[in-house]
Amino acid sequence: MEAIAVTVPPRSIANDLRAVRIVWRRDMIRFWHDKPRIIASALQPMLYLFIFGTGMGAGMRPTGGIDLRVFLYPGVMAMATLFTCFFSAGSLVWDREFGFMREMLVAPVRRSAIVVGKAFGGATTGMFQGITVLAVGGLVGVPYSPVVILILLGELAILSFAITSIGVLVAVKIKSFQAFMALVQIIIMPMFFLSGALFPLHGLPTWLHVMTLLDPLTYAVDPMRRVVLHHVGTDTTGWGVTWSSWAVPTAVELGIVLVTGILALVLAARAFGKTE
């Protein structure tokens, strides 16, 4: 049998895009086949919403008379995305440990294409995670509305992309999965606690207030909460993130999240390009 000789064309944008797509698709296939991971990741936010939210809410109403579960709902959505996206980015470390990374490193594609594919893969997984939380909105007193769902999806997309990019930046630099997990714990928990996911950010001591403003997640939780609370008819005046006395508008907040993500991704691509 005569060999079919194929030709590998010189590198081009079109081929880099093919590379982005296949790196993304591989992550999707792997996620879809990993049913225990899907179930576990769908369950965790439910624990926060129904057990933590119900239990804490029974004892106190610190949030202006609204149900604590409604208050927590956007925070839990952000938290779920945060965890999922970081772990998705960790697959890069996993690939390095199990050798698959080499397959990607010796291919005639721009290394940034691989990083971008990974970021989109993680972002999609994060979106899926957010959607599982969206799906139970009705059970915690957030009625379904197409407009609200669409806005939240858009915000989730930006958040997922940004978080995965930060995760990829960490993953590119770290050589072992254990080290990655340890580092992620150190990054995730402060991000989560400072973001306002669990408590309102007004009336805090100055040092804590300043720290919450340095957390990029803050700027995702706030607009998501604004949408939800507005939807259930709560007056949100005086709630949002402020810089000295300026109430930061939603567009600026989301811009901060997006720019943080892009910046992290650029740095990650650069660091990855230097990998030997």
Binding site: I4, V6, V8, N15, R18, F98, L105, A107, P108, E276
Partner: protein, 328 residues
């Protein structure tokens, strides 16, 4: 120099240093298109570093290296388009099917869409995995995974295929089957094969071999020529009185005998002609004689002063061994 006549691999004065350790100390290599070239050496000799440089995974500190006519330092993407790689450690994704692993590769290399399916079928049939294409790779045996890697390395019709220890850790039967594929491959595809191995019997299959030791190239030629240069046959005898025989061999025949596992061993030129003289003049009853042509083991011994196994035993890092075993 036109592309077609360019050497498949061309290396001059290549050097690479990792901190204090100079892994490669200025080597020259020439591999002609269509050759099966064996690169031999114990672990830590500079083999892997050289391969990494040739595959664009590491940058040389000094010297020049071209693969398929392209410079590995300045034309990395062109080199990558024209080489295939099969690493010592598996680099396939266990959680994907065999077919999906190849599809990933095809997309990453930008193989024209119309060519992907027929070429994929061809390489998978060649390594006997077409029927198992839809199975997850985690259900494959070690040998099947290695075959999948070979198929993947060939998918984009590379001009040079690098095989880093393609048969290490496989049982003899699987090793033989891998060699069958490599031999077929040579016949069917216009391809140059650059492989490392530390199985000396496998190096015999190569058109030419190079031996690297301590970062320097100590020999480079065809297996036959290298063996001829060693020049001496190996003679092993058993006698009724080894002590007397050893002394007598030293005095009368001027050879350096050694006693190993009950056999007296020594090397002489033209072993067959030596044997009658031995019987006539040794003066100690001889129970058995065997004469062997020099093997590549002897070549290795002659150039490095130790067998490859001795070198390995001295150099092997136990952690590296454990890590390798875990990945499999």
């Amino acid at each position: 120099m036109t592309e077609a006549s360019a050497p498949a691999v061309y290396v001059r004065g290549l050097r690479k240093r990792y901190g204090e350790i100079e892994a490669v100390k200025g080597i020259d290599l020439d591999v002609a298109p269509g050759e099966v070239f064996g690169f031999l050496g114990p672990n830590g000799a500079g083999k892997s570093t050289t391969i990494k440089i040739l595959c664009t995974l590491a940058r040389p500190d000094a010297g020049e290296a071209k693969v398929a006519g392209y410079d590995v330092a300045t034309q990395r993407d062109d080199v990558r388009r024209h080489i295939g790689l099969v690493f010592q450690d598996t680099t396939v994704d266990d959680y994907l099917t065999g077919e999906m692993n190849l599809r990933f590769h095809a997309e990453l290399y930008g193989i024209p869409r119309a060519q992907v399916a027929p070429r994929m079928q061809q390489v998978m049939e060649m390594v006997g995995l077409w029927d198992r294409r839809a199975s997850l790779v985690q259900t494959y045996s070690g040998g099947m995974k290695r075959r999948l890697e070979i198929a993947r390395g060939l998918l984009h019709s590379p001009r040079v295929l690098f095989l880093d220890e393609p048969t290490v850790g496989l049982d003899p039967q699987t090793r033989a089957s891998i060699w069958k594929y490599i031999t077929e491959l040579r016949a069917r595809e216009r391809i140059t094969i650059f492989m490392t191995t530390h199985y000396m019997d496998e190096a015999e299959f190569c058109d030419r071999i190079a031996i690297i030791d301590g970062g320097t190239l100590v020999a480079q030629d065809t297996p036959a020529a290298l063996k001829a240069k060693v020049g001496k046959d190996r003679v092993a005898i058993t006698t009724a009185d080894d002590t007397a025989a050893l002394a007598r061999l030293r005095e009368r025949f001027a050879v350096e005998p050694a006693l190993r596992e009950g056999h007296i061993m020594f090397a002489v030129a033209n072993g067959e002609q030596f044997v009658p003289r031995l019987f006539a003049e040794l003066g100690v009853p001889i129970r058995s004689v065997s004469v062997a042509r020099p093997s590549l083991d002897d070549v290795f011994l002659a150039h490095t002063g130790a067998t490859i196994r001795d070198k390995e035993a001295a150099a092997e890092d136990p952690m590296a061994r454990i890590k390798r075993a875990m990945r499999r």
